[in-house]
Symmetry: C2
Subunit: 352 residues, 2 copies
């Protein structure tokens, strides 16, 4: 298969910092789209994968799955996109397309497993991993490419491809909308999107934070109420009151304290990924028939639905724009939670 050599940013080992390297991209096949990458969001998964913290990372590793760009070329059979279109790529670039979950638009739960945007075996270039968005360009089958709305700030749109859909999908799945009281736990990259989206869906949004200093922020983002989660008295006032909770915390935390706030038949959906298992008391779920659930990104059609929803409601991520050369420093700040609320890389910096 013919390839093109391009510039990227990545690492060859878990312990090494990211730096510039050359990678090969396949030349577009008939169903492919070649995308000139403009912006790429920085997701905590990028860091976990680059450092092999979830194990199984394929090196060299070029992270990045919040990609916004412009169509540079299209394969002969491409029908849905044309040169110059604004497009996005999220966490996956392919799936089996045949299992029942793919058929139902749940490609994120593809039975044999989907192809991750980075660090998955590349079907087209056997022996190579897929390479993500910290790069000049990417080649993706048109079925896994999203249409990016014209009315949104492009850089701030990039994080919608992962942080946006990761929060949008469970809010939709658990029927968040008017008349529902919804808790959003954690005000970070995911949580701040959760607040904006739940509010735009018409729910009454209660944000939970460990930090009094985030109260004003949470309200600015759209929260109707804010609760200091380490204050038992404030927590007790919400006991049995919430229809649904979105838990966007990646650090260790006591889920039982939040399950207590759910109404009968309520669900708490985890979208953060704490490293260690979370201890859940039997009575936390037995009393009130509650559910501790989880959710991963969203399907392709639902991701498009989310982008269209964001376009309509003028929702993007709050971001801090960086150059690719600042990525290692950004990772360190990410570890400290020192970002409001998502780093986005201006990929022009790689070309310069």
């Amino acid at each position: 298969m013919e390839v093109t050599n391009i510039k990227a940013y990545g690492t060859r080992a878990a312990e090494a910092p990211l730096n510039q390297l050359d990678i090969n991209r396949r030349k577009p096949t008939p169903h492919d789209i070649e995308i000139d990458i403009l912006y790429c969001g920085v997701c905590h998964s990028d860091l976990h994968t680059a450092r092999n913290e979830w194990h199984g990372t394929l090196y060299p590793c070029v992270p990045g799955h919040e990609i916004v760009g412009k169509v540079k070329s299209v394969g002969d059979h491409v029908t849905r996109f044309k040169l110059g279109d604004l497009v996005g790529v999220g966490c996956m670039v392919d799936s089996c397309r045949e299992c029942q979950y793919c058929q139902e638009g749940l490609e994120q739960y593809c039975e044999p497993g989907n192809t991750g945007t980075y660090s998955s075996p590349d079907k087209h270039l056997p022996g190579n991993p897929t390479f993500g968005g910290y790069s000049e360009s990417i080649v993706v089958d048109e079925n896994y490419v999203l249409r990016v709305p014209e009315n949104l700030d492009l850089a701030a749109t990039a994080p919608l491809l992962c942080a946006g859909i990761t929060t949008y999908s469970p809010l939709r799945h658990w029927n968040v909308g008017p008349g529902k009281k919804v808790g959003i736990v954690g005000i970070g990259g995911l949580g701040h999107m959760g607040i904006k989206l739940a509010k735009a869906m018409g729910a009454h949004v209660v944000a939970f934070t460990t930090s009094q200093s985030k109260f004003e922020e949470a309200k600015r983002l759209g929260a109707d109420e804010v609760v200091l989660s380490k204050d038992p008295e404030q927590m007790a006032a919400y006991r049995g009151k919430l229809h649904f909770m979105l838990d966007a915390v990646s650090a260790e935390h006591d889920v039982n304290a939040y399950l207590a706030l759910l109404r009968v038949d309520g669900s708490l959906a985890l979208v953060g990924a704490p490293e260690h298992p979370l201890p859940i008391a039997a009575f936390s779920v037995i009393m009130g028939r509650k559910s501790f659930a989880g959710s991963a990104i969203g399907g392709i059609a639902e991701t498009q639905e989310m982008l269209d929803f964001c376009s309509k409601h003028n929702i993007t991520s709050d971001i801090e724009l960086i150059n690719i050369q600042q990525i290692n420093e950004a990772y360190e700040r990410l570890l400290k939670g020192d970002v409001k609320y998502r780093f986005v890389i201006d990929m022009a910096s790689l070309k310069g």
Copy 2:
């Protein structure tokens, strides 16, 4: 309020064995039914409460919430029962009747809390706890009394009032029926009912046990397949295959191993009550949008529905009939799991 003094079996302290004692029952008020108790099942909760293992036990404690008996007298305004009727009483004898959950027939999740059949403050006899079924008779508001079918073995019907409804309710709530593959984890007092009920609902039932010796038993009870849960190879064969799992294990166990067997959007509902919190890995629920849920008994209307279902399908519990004088020994055997599958007390032994 006028009271009657009757014989019962109970304990005055967590450390003391159960022995005979006298208790007061109120004389039936206009909406009450006085029930001559024929049989009372022995639930693990009885032991937990008698020994104050869940804390908050009110002494003296007379356990027993799987009660089958005959109507001995009725209050003036009772409309639903008459003298001589076969009736049952389960885990609750009252609730607020006003909260939204009571209004919806979910009295088990009554917002201010329902009145437990034993060890709850007795509204009618202030300062006294309610006393359960290890006694000659009980007086209960007719709205919390169930009609017991005539075609079932009476002693074997008693455990339906707790073990039966505890398994029936989640199986119904999570839509178990034809075309569904359902896992039942643990083959004990609850689990053996789960197998029988899920099978009668038309599901394909897969039983999970830690003991090869229970394979034949599980099949006799109705399981289509049996899996040795400590054999990783047998477990792996069911990965992603089950629509729903009922987890009836009260001991510590690895829930993650079972969550892995659920299909996308599957739920595992815990009905056992392990003492310590269960560690659940984020990815166990995130991958496949799965739920770790719980469920407690069922509402009054649903309990009646369950009894009628059991009548129609000729389902009762497998029991070992004992005299009340054997209760302390039965508790010791219960702790060792040495019962197939439920002790039921022949209450005639108390009168003799």
